[in-house]
């Protein structure tokens, strides 16, 4: 099990969902989320392939963050790029990820997205998937669950979060222009976040 393999699965899942994510974004945004993210991960794949075999998890995640930042553009690039950079910093010098570290990494990523995008939970953004996911890992840790079990709970919480985004009004990002008309549509960013978490869980389970 390597970090590079895990990232490739997450990126591959995004690339497979490119059209779906773009359709979601066309309904409430500017219709390029899938296109931009797929382009970003294609570029990231080239960059992580160039890494040395002994690159640690932190180094891989840093490469992913920088790769997304320099290739995605728009708002998703800085947001996801910052998330991966912060997660990278949170697992520096670690060779394995336990549940506690996984939560620290996810929380650092969430903090990065909040710092960059000035959003909070309930505004129909990727945070509506990621914050419940982090909370689920926290609950799992308290119940003595291992990292795989925690990740399973996180994916379920994120999926519930995506469903929740259908019921709320967008107040951040381009979808905010639609206001009430954004109700009924699931958020593309929350969806892509969940896709990546799910791919990660499928890999470690």
């Amino acid at each position: 099990m390597t970090a590079i393999e895990a990232i490739k699965l997450a990126g591959q899942a995004i690339i497979e969902e490119k059209d779906f994510l773009t359709d979601l974004d066309q309904a409430i945004g500017d219709g390029d989320h899938g296109i931009n993210m797929a382009r970003g991960f294609s570029s990231v794949f080239t960059k992580i392939d160039a890494l040395k075999d002994d690159a640690d998890i932190s180094m891989v995640l840093k490469t992913v963050g920088m790769g997304l930042i320099s290739s995605v553009g728009g708002a998703s690039g800085p947001l996801y790029g910052t998330a991966f950079l912060r997660a990278s910093a949170a697992c520096k010098d670690k060779n394995a990820i336990d549940a506690v570290t996984a939560k620290e990494m996810l929380d650092a990523a969430i903090k990065g997205i909040q710092d960059r995008g000035k959003a909070v939970k309930g505004e129909k953004t990727m945070l509506d998937a990621l914050i419940p996911a982090s909370e689920a890992i926290g609950t799992g840790i308290d119940a003595g669950k291992n990292v795989v079990e925690c990740l399973k709970d996180a994916v379920e919480a994120a999926q519930t979060g995506v469903e929740y985004t259908k019921t709320i009004i967008a107040t951040k990002g381009r979808a905010s222009y639609l206001a009430e008309r954004s109700i009924g549509h699931q958020d593309p960013g929350a969806t892509s976040s969940t896709t990546m978490l799910k791919a990660l869980y499928e890999y470690v389970k």
């Binding site: 553009g73 910052t82 960059r116 995008g117 381009r174 905010s176 222009y177």
Partner: protein, 331 residues
């Protein structure tokens, strides 16, 4: 889609090459990046970096030169440039006096420029930022939180550029840029849509007899659509929205920018400008300087925007200062 292009994927690259090849006395290409920098850099001044999505030419590369910008960063059409591109532009022009980033208020632009600023600051470069938001059409839009930055941005380039050229400190250049932002407002309208080359089809449609008031420079929605009317009535409607801001009063002195969106002839822009002169005169507002032309376009969109900037002695003097760039020459 009918365009004079070779390949939609190469439009920005070929445009930048053409721009630099056409204006070698003004511009240089930063090798390997979508950045144009000022030729004959002055080493003892604060430098200005701006940019954004492509498709708004001559903004921003056309305003690189003496008295305005030191570098412009070009993103994909209507898409913010990435932080690494902006970061390279900052590094290329910094000479130790500090760099001011002039950013139009769109979520993507603000985030990408913010990240570039952090990367440069980590290198020990002094960076300050201003965000332009002159468009009074909508408070929040498809692409922004808060007002959008449109043609009024050119007045920020002009005045902050003149301040930097005069040797002012980074703090003072930033302060004057913020003064321009606080005192400038714009309002636009569109008659026909534009087509992003990679998309291949127009982003919206307007009926033959329809216009959209408050249309953004990426085709994002404005306040409403209505049947097209006379130039005088359109101008009055745009000005009324600007006057509702309660900035411009009898006795004030202003600069006026009548901006074409790409497909509107100068003839029509001058008809609009004539009406603006009359309306301002009737309100007792004096016009110190009027710019008419295509400054911040939206590909081949037809339409225009009107920008007003309230002047004080400092702004008036800086506005009148020389500028020598591909798209704006003033002696």
């Amino acid at each position: 889609m009918k365009k004079i292009i070779n390949n939609p994927d190469n439009v920005v690259e070929e445009m930048l090459n053409g721009m630099v090849a056409s204006h070698p006395e003004y511009l240089e290409r930063l090798e390997g990046f979508d950045v144009v920098t000022r030729k004959n850099k002055k080493s003892d001044k604060v430098t200005l970096v701006s940019g954004g999505g492509s498709g708004h030419e001559p903004a921003h590369g056309g305003f690189v030169g003496k008295g305005m910008l030191d570098a412009a960063v070009a993103g994909a059409v209507f898409t913010s440039p990435t932080p690494d591109q902006v970061y390279e532009a900052i590094k290329a022009v910094d000479n130790g006096k500090g760099v001011l980033l002039v950013i139009k208020n769109y979520s993507g632009d603000v985030m990408n420029f913010d990240m570039a600023a952090e990367m440069a600051e980590a290198d020990g470069i002094k960076v300050e930022k201003v965000v332009t938001n002159d468009d009074v059409a909508v408070e929040n839009s498809t692409w922004t939180i808060g007002r959008r930055g449109i043609a009024g941005t050119i007045l920020v380039h002009k005045i902050a550029g003149a301040k930097a050229e005069a040797g002012a400190s980074l703090e003072d250049v930033k302060a004057v840029a913020e003064k321009v932002i606080a005192n400038s407002r714009s309002m636009g309208m569109a008659l026909s849509p534009c087509t992003v080359p990679a998309a291949g089809k127009p982003s919206f449609t307007l009926a033959d007899d329809e216009m959209e008031i408050g249309m953004g420079i990426h085709g994002e929605p404005g306040t409403h659509r209505e049947s097209i009317t006379t130039a005088d009535e359109i101008t009055q409607q745009l000005l009324d929205k600007i006057f509702a801001e309660d900035i411009y009063h009898s006795g004030d002195e202003v600069a006026v920018l009548i901006n074409g969106l790409g497909a509107t002839p100068l003839m029509e822009l001058y008809v609009v400008s004539g009406k603006v002169q009359t309306v301002l005169q009737e309100k007792g507002i004096k016009i110190a300087k009027t710019y008419v032309g295509n400054y911040m376009t939206s590909l081949e969109m037809a339409g225009c925007s009107i920008s007003l900037l309230k002047l004080d002695a400092e702004l008036k003097e800086l506005l009148a200062a020389p500028a020598d760039t591909p798209a704006l020459v003033q002696f």
